[in-house]
């Protein structure tokens, strides 16, 4: 059972890692960035090419991918979302879906849709103790997601940029009036969120050793669910949601209901939302009239 | 004159803050009453309590109906509205993307209910009712000389017109009591004067009771028959405009020397 808990945490950390980026973008422009999962895919592919073509090490690939994805995120925001700054949110959502389709199919078109093996830039080592087994890469992912969560929380709570992000998220107009550059702030958020996705792409590529252009679809949706479950827009919420989903999936499968794994996740999501309409950590603010 | 609305020992706590505490007040038939008090005194909160937007911490609100006094606590806002309490909002809350006429028609829904399946098939009765409601709505708009704006989007109208529409919309629910939260905010003296006249007129023509919150004393002192003064959530004073104007406690807390 302890082993299953480890499995759940390790799966959850992957969801959490992706959910963090989701939640950041959502937090600032209230956009369900459907393309987030696909930026993660791009990160994995970029890491793949860096390692295969330039034979860089894991850490270099990780950082280069983060930078690459940050740029991609900013460019996507600039071209596809910024022109719609004053449009209804659902319109931007559709655009995001369009971007997601474009990335998935564009990559399929250019690089074929069949999966490819990720170069083993880091030797997998397994540690066995107390009857459980855990690999160095699992630990890496788990630690990274927790560190990033703390880091992000610090950025948002402590830095000037974080302050600007909070202001823009609640009232962009008023944010301008206190001298915040709204566009820069949003770009920064996309860069940060996308860099996280890039990191996730490389780490998860390495972990599973398989990447393909559609790899972002399912985890993207799961990460979105995780972000909502924890309270969308909240950094700790995203992490918590990710872990909860990872563990729920593990428990359901361990209990022998593997065919109903996703149904159970959604059922728990709905139940939690009915009890806490703004997610586990979200607080419901009744509008004052 | 019988009591129409009776508020007893009403209290609302937000965390440690008693926004409204132990308030007792009553509204009678056909009265025009004002509620004043410093910023943050709890006036809007009191409105929210009476119209069901906010559940009270303690105390009761009851309304006289055909079946005698009925307690409103715990009832949903739409139910309370249906029973005859209508309101406007401090920060205008119109149905922005709908026409002025639709704004008014929507308020008539609760008094002119429609069967769900009936609304799918257009019976002759449907057209008859629609025509009647439309006429009623236009008549209401006419009171405020807004019939020409009937097809304008609510959000495209100047501020003052929006405030007036909010009042019409509330009237369209055929209320027994109308609550107005700062109806003159953002209006200049001239517009305020016009509003004063209209409020008085509708109160008389519709035979309803009006309770209004307002910081503009030119309006309050002109229309109110009685005034309640709230401070720190508690009732500070009650009386006629004359009495209130000369009440030292009210002057110190609220009016200042200027009036």
């Amino acid at each position: 059972m302890l082993q299953q808990l480890i499995n759940g945490l390790s799966l959850g950390s992957i969801y959490a890692l992706l959910a963090l980026g989701y939640t950041m973008v959502y937090g600032i422009i209230k956009l369900i960035n459907f393309a987030h999962g696909d930026v993660y895919m791009l990160g994995a592919f970029w890491g793949y090419y860096m390692i295969n073509q330039f034979h860089v090490g894991f850490w270099t690939a990780l950082i280069v991918s983060m930078i690459f994805c940050a740029i991609v995120g900013v460019v996507i925001e600039f071209l596809a979302y910024r022109p719609l700054r004053n449009s209804p949110r659902i319109v931007v959502l559709i655009t995001a879906i369009g971007v997601s389709f474009l990335l998935e199919n564009g990559m399929s078109y250019l690089f074929s849709s069949s999966p490819r093996d990720f170069p083993q830039a880091m030797q997998m080592v397994r540690y066995h103790f107390w009857g459980i087994s855990i690999s160095n890469i699992q630990i890496l992912i788990l630690v990274t997601s927790i560190v990033l969560m703390i880091l992000l929380q610090l950025i948002i709570k402590r830095t000037r940029m974080g302050k600007a992000m909070r202001a823009v998220s609640v009232d962009p107009e008023a944010a301008k009036l206190i001298g915040i550059n709204v566009n820069h702030t949003i770009s920064f958020t996309f860069a940060l969120g996308s860099a996280l996705a890039g990191a996730a792409g490389v780490m998860i590529g390495l972990y599973y050793n398989s990447i393909d252009p559609l790899m972002g679809m399912t985890p993207g949706i799961k990460a979105f669910v995780a972000a909502v479950l924890g309270g969308i827009g909240l950094i700790p919420g995203a992490a918590l949601g990710g872990f909860v989903i990872g563990i729920v999936e593990t428990i359901v499968q361990a209990l022998g209901f593997s065919a109903f794994r996703d149904a159970a996740v959604y059922a728990i999501l709905i139940i939690i939302l009915i009890i806490r309409p703004a997610g586990i950590l979200g607080k419901v603010t009744r509008e004052k009239v | 004159m019988a009591v129409l609305l009776d508020v007893k020992d009403l209290t609302k706590n937000f965390g440690g803050l008693a926004a409204v505490s132990d308030v007792n007040l009553h509204l009678d038939d056909n009265e025009l009453v004002a509620l004043i008090g410093p910023n943050g005194a709890g006036k809007t909160t009191l409105f929210n309590l009476m119209t069901g937007q906010t559940p009270p911490s303690e105390g009761s609100i009851s309304l006289r109906t055909n079946e005698g006094m009925q307690v409103l606590n715990g009832k949903k806002p739409y139910h309370i509205a249906d029973m005859g309490l209508a309101r406007t909002f401090q920060n205008i809350r119109l149905f922005k993307e709908l026409s002025v006429l639709d704004n008014v028609l929507i308020s008539m829904t609760s008094k002119n209910k429609e069967n769900f399946f009936g609304s799918l098939i257009r019976t002759p009765n449907f057209y008859k009712t629609e025509a009647r409601l439309r006429k009623e709505a236009l008549d209401l708009l006419e009171i405020f000389e807004m019939q020409d704006l009937a097809d304008t989007l609510a959000s495209n109208m100047p501020y003052g017109a929006q405030r007036r529409l909010e009042i019409i919309r509330a009237l369209a629910t055929k209320p027994k009591i109308l609550f107005l939260d700062e109806p003159a905010a953002g209006m200049n003296p001239e517009e305020t004067a016009a509003l004063t006249a209209t409020i008085r007129q509708i109160q008389k023509d519709f035979g309803i009771t009006v309770l209004l919150i307002e910081h503009d004393m030119s309006l309050v002192m002109n229309v109110a028959e009685r005034i309640y003064v709230l401070q720190y959530g508690k009732l500070l004073a009650e009386g006629t405009p004359k009495e209130i104007q000369s009440n030292q406690a009210v002057i110190d807390a609220y009016l200042g020397g200027g009036v």
Binding site: I32, A80, P83, L84, P88, I90, V91, V92, I94, T95, I97, G98, V99, S100, F101, E104, G106, V225, V228, I232, A259, A263, V265, Y266, I270, L273, I274, P277, G279, E287, V289 | Q53, K76, P77, Y78, A81, A86, F89, R93, L94, L98, I106, M108, T109, S110, K111, N112, E114, F116, S119, L120, I121, R122, P124, Y127, K128, T129, A170, A172, T173
Partner: protein
Amino acid sequence: MKKNLKFNAIWLLIAIAGWILINVLEGVGIIDQFAENTLVLIGINIILATGLNLIIGFSGQFSLGHAGFMALGAYAAALVTQAIPTPGGFVIGMVAGMILAGVVALIIGMPTLRLKGDYLAIATMGAAEIIRIIIVNLKITNGPAGLYGLPQLANWSLVYVLVVVTTIFTVNFIHSRNGRAVMSVREDEIAAESMGINTTKFKVAAFVFGGMTAAIGGALHASYIQTIAPNDFGIMQSINILIIVVMGGIGSITGTFAAAILLGILDMVMQSFGALRMVLYSLALILIMIFRPKGLFGTWEFSVKRLFNRKKKAKEGA
């Protein structure tokens, strides 16, 4: 009163004329089987999107689970027509699907419609996925393989009639007192409640109505394609319907028609673009949204009455 009758008659005439026109075109061979196929798929999408537009565009509730209700309609119709392979059987199946979808919408809607915006979206998406997963795991639905070899009882005429009927019902609903109440929920829930409108009731009503129309679309889909599988009703299907609604203009039934037709034709033309197909489609989607963010028609509606009045005005002016 007479005037109303006249407008209704004009609408009816337009509908009948459309039907005759298409039949004639089919007779002379301008509309071949492939075009008819396209028309049917467009028609089904119109039904699906109209219902979703009622939920999203008019009641302002963000539902991302339309495919779930579509699935209920499809499976109900498929199972019933397998047992009773007659037009009557199809009607029974479709109605059963509608009732099932209505009841499920009620069960899902009651608790979840309290949620706001994206929370509701994800809850409805989850609910639809649960429906799908249950279908995957049921014996009677034949698991992931789905049901196939269904009798083709839906033809193009039936689809046309049902498009007309659902549109009329939807439009009538929107322009009734209930419909206005639904719209007030979208505009400002707090204000609506204060005007005596039971917002929960109207939200659920729109949701149930939308769910039932989705079931009609699903039933037609099952019976026309003759094959259904759980994967036909996944998240992507919900998204595809959503795209029609938004592209047409949230809150415009005319727009829904236009977008369904445009996307339907695009879908057919793009079949020949091979692997580039979805690349071009997604580019088109992004560009349309950027250049027409209000949708093809915004909230504009085609109206016989207005057309008529304008003519009259022009005449008076002359």
